[in-house]
Amino acid sequence: MRCVHTFDLGQSAPLAEEAFRAFLRETSTGGDRLLALFAEEPSSGRFLLHALAGGAAPGRFVHACVEASPRSFRTFTDVCPGTHWFEREIYDLFGLVPEGHPELNPLRFHEGWPKKYFPLRSGGAPAPDARRGYRFLLVRGEGIHEVAVGPVHAGIIEPGHFRFSCAGETIQNLEIRLGYQHKGIESLFPGYPGMGKILLSESISGDTAVGHSTACARLLEEIVGKPADPSAERWRAAALEIERISNHCGDLGGLSTDIGYLFGAAHFGRLRGAALNLLLKIAGNRFGRGLNRIGGIGPRVPGIAPGDLVAELERLRVEVESVGTTLLDAPSVVARMEGTGRLLPHTAKTLQFVGPAARASGRDVDARRDFPSPSYGDSSPAKVLLDGGDVMARARVRFMETRSSFEWLSGILAGAPGTGTAAERVNAPVAGRRLVVSVEEGWRGEIVHAAVVDGEGRITRYKVVDPSFRNWPGLSFAVQKNVISDFPLCNKSFNLSYSGADL
């Protein structure tokens, strides 16, 4: 399967530091792109850094690892800026200091946490003192003032803190401090593969339950050596595209709210609900929880006949098309969104952003094409790529992607079996120490799950990369030189998950 891969860690010796650095440098110059950088403590007091990359050809995964001292490693941000947040995360979870990191603020831990507390580090080697306080970048100049927003925001949304440094109305710098949603989810995954892991993955980011649980299920299936059959995979892909449609509709509604276009807000709010109700008819829950089992899909999935689903999707498509066209053709809407919150293609490429936000800034990455799961093997939804990089481009990409998804769904559901294959219980075969990786294109971008598995088939380290974790810094770039009143609009055009980033 080209969306999952197993690396035999017995066969891949750690690289020399320079070779590892070269591996990361290559991910920022084209070809294979960075998927994840994370630390592991294979035995007490010994630390490894793993880098995963791929995508130069469909289904191509590459891996490299390097030994790190129990205290620190030299930062890789100079050769691969996309490792910026990954290194901060390693610092928080393991207490390994990335020496020379340009902005080593804690991502996960706030004031009040003990200085020696690193949740994924054993006591095998003495830990350094961690800095728990946060140093905001100080912008100096005449008339510069700061505006602090959050963690509790005005609407019904997740918590995070935004610190704006402004000259008049214009944003000079936005610093995003997260961690409020940190729930220690990676610490809950280790152990033998079981359904509990899939339930956990459904709660990594509530609006991406299908994307994360599908990536997790395939990873667990790779560990136990029992892939789902094509009919189950077909329903996974169908649910994934409906999840994409529901969220893109929700975002188009949210953008409408933020510019005071109530027509779009009301209709897209309703249409998002209609798409969620289709997920409910498939899996029994509005967010598609209950879809996945290890080795297939739930026994009551799908709860709707393929023909009925096609008919309901067609009704929804007609409505989304008419409301979306009205929204994106309205001169007042275009005037408000065009040129606002521009994320330059160069920035998107350098920092290796993913998903629709990257595709609106000319970065051609899509895991459905680059790491195709069985249902996307022959054809994936039509490519959408724009280079405007502004709110308008991000809105258009979303609308065009819903079109692609509707079109592709009607093809894949034609002739789909009315039932998938329910999972059986299986035990993990004994094999060497290995690293298993699974990638899927969620609606926000590529989702990466990776697990280090020991000789008995037990997960010892589980890494989750939500696309939000990759893209949050993009928002800071997009709002620079915009007026502060445009921030909500810019923010909504990315609509990143706090929970997915904070884990």
Partner: protein, 254 residues
Amino acid sequence: MLESIRKRAQTGKVTVPLPAGDPPAPYRGMPAIGDAFRSGSVAETCAAACATDAIDPEKRTVDLGRCVFCGLCEEACGGEGIRFSQDPRLPCGKREHLVLGGREFPTLTAAPDLRSLLGRSLHLREVSAGGCNGCDLEAQALGNPIFDLQRFGIDFVASPRHADGLLVTGPVSKNMREALFKTYDAIAEPRIVIAIGACAASGGIFRGSYAIEDGVGNILPVDLFIPGCPPHPLTLLYGILGFLGRSPGKNLRG
């Protein structure tokens, strides 16, 4: 402009009346406990399948404050012990009201003086505290034209100073403990606290993690728990209206 007016006329009214019909199959709503669960080994089979320890095979109870409605217990027992119905009305109230199969509790409603103080109006400040965002999304959906919470005089407000109470989602991450408490503190008394979802009741699927407080009840005095993972918007509507003594079937306009 004309297009949007035409569309508006064409769409008509989409708001669901209350009481509403049940969501379609295979929706997992209120679990029904079968006779087989109350004797024999079926309760143990169900408990073994449960990933959140919601089922106590000794007491033969199901704690909806821990249940994530995954359906694994129903699959394990073939529906003999526990079978999920499509009814979105779930028991709400104090923490013990959420436990099925034990003592029966009468429906909990707010104290009469509080209800008379609130009248037909309730304004809530929402705080998301360490969850996955699922409950926040369903609370947000209450504001869309389908569920339209505002028709009942209930609304979400930005400032805690304007609020009669707090609606909290999530298990309360340690990093949100202070912000949650400050928001609560900023609300004038008398104030109510509503905690929605399995995480807010017990920590849910994250229970026992180093980074959370295992539920809002460990931080604030909670007046109303509403179970679910996440609760369906209808579950939220029934739960909040029931607490205000405006149960569907009676005059919902209060």
